[in-house]
Symmetry: C2
Subunit: 368 residues, 2 copies
């Protein structure tokens, strides 16, 4: 089952054991790539998925590993368990893994707002990983995560007070079914130069060929934008929009942060973008903000519109950092800057941040 050499096997002894639950999903696939680039962190890596996917063979660290079924026993001997599964699966199984002694790093929404579960972005609030009485650490929602590195850097200097955010969210935020649906729709509309000019013709073309029942989106996404992500909450808000508010407050440690978000899906495969209007306690200039963002290790400033330089999702996808551009002083709001932020929602927005949290735990367990 494993093709690791004797030297590799020896080197891995004494290192913590990792379980990856949800290894076959869109985030899981990216996670295996990220783990393969970090050879010196983990001992054994167990891949875990639903009964339907158990038995699948996946490659990680250059080795083929057979996916195991999600059971209580699969967590025996596991030090850290990453979960990327639906909320209800995490709600059921994360406590099981924790009871077996694993520290759980969970990327669902099941525990994020629980007072006794930390919500961690390693560049912003790394010390919170040790504050885990239930043995569970939550990874933030991908939309919130897209802007946390940049806003954390600015908050440290000037004290964030208000956020008005509009998102441009990629299909893969809805997982592999979202990616598949966007490609299916593009295959339908991509050759037809008449579509998108009369009401409903894109919808009819897509639904005639693909049906609508199977889409994870509530409207066609090709040749369209869809102002909805998540489920309906009080006052017409989407769950995604409230996550941006609640999680930003918790991660940044600003319980009274004023936040309004509008979340919109766009026909991009992977990488979320956000237009951010950020207001601070103290006067902030664009030069100061630029310097703070350049000093932030996980942020790349791409901001020279005279030469066509600004971040776009098609250029950012696959990269680890957060990319920031279009930095402007708001003309009528003295303590406000505007920025456009792009981040790979499967990497920093999900798998990478989860891996970073897990590595903080691994270092702690190893006494480093």
């Amino acid at each position: 089952m494993s093709s690791a050499s004797d030297a590799t096997t020896q080197a891995r002894q004494g290192r913590p054991t990792l379980a990856v639950v949800g290894a076959t999903g869109a985030v899981g696939t990216v996670m295996l790539g990220i783990l393969s680039q970090r050879q010196d962190v983990w001992g054994e890596i167990r891949l875990v998925a639903s009964a339907r996917s158990a038995g699948t063979r996946l490659r990680v660290r250059g080795e083929e590993v057979v996916v195991r079924e999600l059971t209580a026993e699969v967590f025996d001997g596991v030090d850290v368990a990453m979960f990327d599964v639906p909320d209800e699966v995490s709600a059921q199984w994360a406590p099981v893994a924790a009871a077996r002694g694993a520290v759980v790093v969970d990327n669902s929404g099941a525990f994020r707002m629980d007072a006794d579960v930390p919500l961690v972005v390693p560049e912003v609030n790394p010390a919170q990983v040790r504050n885990r009485p239930r043995g569970i650490i939550s990874n933030p929602n991908c939309t919130t995560l897209t802007m946390m590195d940049a806003l954390g850097a600015l908050h440290r200097g000037w004290g964030l007070t208000e956020l008005v955010v509009a998102s441009y969210q990629a299909a893969s935020g809805a997982g592999q079914p979202g990616v598949d649906r966007l490609y299916d729709e593009l295959a339908v509309v991509g050759g037809d130069r008449t579509l998108g000019q009369r009401s409903g013709d894109v919808r009819r073309a897509v639904e005639d060929k693909l049906g609508s029942a199977s889409s994870p989106f509530p409207a066609p996404l090709a040749l369209n934008v869809v102002p909805w992500a998540g489920s309906l909450r009080d006052g017409g808000w989407s769950s995604e929009e409230l996550k941006v508010r609640d999680e930003s407050r918790k991660i940044l440690g600003i319980p009274d942060l004023k936040v309004s978000a509008t979340c919109v899906r766009v026909p991009v495969v992977t990488t979320h973008s956000l237009a951010v209007h950020a207001t601070f306690q103290r006067r902030i200039t664009v030069d100061q903000a630029r310097q703070a963002l350049m000093d932030a290790p996980s942020v790349v400033l791409v901001d020279d519109p005279a030469n066509g330089d600004f971040p776009t999702p098609a250029d950012v996808v696959g990269a680890d950092p957060t990319f920031v551009g279009r930095l402007r002083q708001a003309l009528d709001f003295p303590n406000t800057v505007e920025l456009f932020v792009c981040g790979d929602n499967l990497r920093k927005g999900a798998a990478l941040n989860t891996a970073q949290i897990a590595e903080l735990v691994a270092a702690e367990l190893s006494g480093r």
Copy 2:
């Protein structure tokens, strides 16, 4: 040249003569459709374009009309001249048409902010059409226009003070070359289920097949969003973003309105969308806002997310009204509502509003 019946010819006598300058462009094409639906307004309709397009035959009101070259003489006897041409062409020729006695309705940016040129949205400030000392009336920028009907209705009731706007702008905002480029790019990427997952692969695929020199956009638009529209202004702002600020102030008559806009192009053929965070002098509830928007004759409220009802550009394209949905009370901003607005940028955003202005002038000239 004309196939109008004798009865039609007779009915048209005594009605004002219209010239359509820029008849062959993306907006011009929509304009001919709109004029064909309004048979009882105009007498003669002259179609005018650059020397390159002169001689083309186009259909309007069911009749074939030969396009005439843009010259001073073409305006002789013209009562109203609509211009949809680049800024520099309007700057040169609109005064010529006005000097020949035509009232010019101009859809370029050449005159919009001139103090002696009114900037008109008929549902918001119709009386301004008579305030035209130079014989020129400007039609607003399509992005600004998308939200003016809805915001005008709310401003009348509660007094608008602040706007934070993020746009989702369609390719046709860049004219027919924008539409052609988006279709060309979709034909390249539409069949490839690997693109959009690695940095720059969409850019390489598109540029390999199409080159980059010919695109009106500064980055690929298919499988992407591009945070840029217009030209660079001071402080990193785009001209489009400053138009939203300046033109909103002028149309609504609020010189100190606070505005911050981020303008982003999305892979949609036609219909601009805007996420709007609108703050008022007086406390406004969602119920009040909903009623005011339902009472506004040119606004359609589509706002039942429980049933998947919200406006999307693919559903709105080709329709005349402004569509508003996702109406929410901002949770942390007491006098603020959030809304998502969609409007066809070639119709209300350009041709339709121009036609409405021209009809106000026609009624005035006819003494109606």
